[in-house]
Amino acid sequence: MSVAAAAPQLELRGVTKRFGGVAAVDGVSFEIAKGEIVGIIGPNGAGKTTLLNCISGLHRLDGGDIRWQGESIAGVAPHRIARIGIGRTFQIVRPFGSMTVRENAAVGAMFGSDAARRGPKEAFEMADQVLELVGLEAKAGHPVSALTIPDRKRLEVARAVATKPQLLLLDEVMAGLNNVEIDEALEMVRAVHATGVTVLLIEHVMRVIVGVCRRAVVLDFGQVLAEGEPEVVLRDERVIQAYLGERYAKRLKS
């Protein structure tokens, strides 16, 4: 029992994914403990989204292993990954356009993890709870096309949360939001986290990383460049060089 308790929830060991001859993700290893919020940052093209695709089963690994609660999930199909409790959002939101906001969330609750799967009637009840959690309850009956961009991002999160994940992968949920909208979205992430969900998020917005993450992993050219507390990582000279740029680093310090 003590062994299982000590094991990380998610463990990446030398994860590698190649496209053509190029390694988009090149031997990435890190661990996430249950209940953490971990941020992934790094330049565009560093392999962040590819890494998320590997975890959620959309890409097959070319090397390494991904372990979920101690068991390998490499090569497992995406719907099975969802069933064991790993949910995700997409960088460019992918709502089910012909459905209402409520139906989108309900579909998540009909499928998703083993904890979520239920018939339409209960799924709609659960959808209402989730919409309240992300602040979309007033727009439950709206068609997706009537939503603003921040609300579409909320819906993307709502659908993933409705699958009752233990680990939620968020791919740039804050992109395209202004500072005030980001603050609101941060509240939403904190609220989801408070329900006991581990969060792994990709962001380019540093106030998000600093604001909610206990730990940040920096990827560059598909490899881990740095890892640690956000305040420390963002002052790392290599990270400034590869990712933040001098001007940003100055602004961050001031």
């Binding site: 959309l58 992918r94 089910f96 499928f111």
Partner: protein, 360 residues
Amino acid sequence: MIAQGLRDRRWRRIFLIVGVVVAAYALLAPLTSLDFAQSANVPLLADRLWFRLATYIAMFIVMATAWNIIGGITGYAAFGNVAFFGIGAYTTGMLIAKAKWPFLAALPFAPVVSALFAALVGLPLLRLRGHYFAVASLGVGVAVGELVQNIDYGGQPLFGGASGLFLPIFSIDNRGLFFFYLMVAAAAVAIFATRWVLRSRFGYGLIAIRENEEAAAVIGVNTTSYKVAAFALAAALTGLAGGIFSQWNVFINQDNAFPIEYNVQMILMALLGGTGTVFGPAAGAVLLQLLIQFLGGSLPISVDIPFVSTAARPIVAQVILGLLLVAVVIFVPRGVIDFFGGRSRLSLSYLRRSLRETSL
């Protein structure tokens, strides 16, 4: 918005009334052909021609409604569903003609064999997307018909070959009435199946696949098995129609069991009536089949088409159907049910919105 809602409701009511009247007429008219009705001097509302036409319409209601499950709800534009019709027809036909089974024992095998075949070809085919799937499914539709005609076994054509397959006549009083009601029952099964699908978890999974397959997968929809199941369900219903057809028509061959034009017609019916809806494909089937029969000159009310000889009418009918397909896709991409029940009808903004939605 409120005024629109009212008009919406008004159209819905008109649709409902028209639908109920047409359905009641279609279901009750055959009874006037029964002996006791005739001896009571009830006017005959359904003669042989009526039965033939009405049974064809019911048959297309089955096929269009079935196509809607894979094409409309799941979003996979299957262009070869006639293969399932033919397989159903030949399954029943072979069991009756060669194995000497009674019709009602042979009929259940039509949907079963069609569904199994769909599952088999669906596994590789449904990995393809967009036009690739459409073209590949069309290929299967054509290939199956050719195979059925040309497979030999021990020097003999296995399925009757080019000369087709003759079935013993199913002897029952009021044959026309029997097969009409049987086909209507199949249509009811198809419509109820669609209704069930659209309200079930299964249906939400299929719509999710249509809207975005990867997003469906990462919320836990087993996309492969859902797609295959939808394809097999569509095939089972289409095969059921084929099975009934074989005994009704008594003779089947490649031409009447695998007519390529059915592929387009069932899609056109579903589009015309409204894909993804419960009753849309059925409404489209009634409208289009009446039009086809009218253009072909087999309706009692017939109008001469200027400059077109009687012999050329079927060809002209095809041309008109083709033009209609273009018009439907441009003007009523969401079907007549939406067209009349929706907000604005023959307006520029409707056309613009339609064009925008279909061109994306």
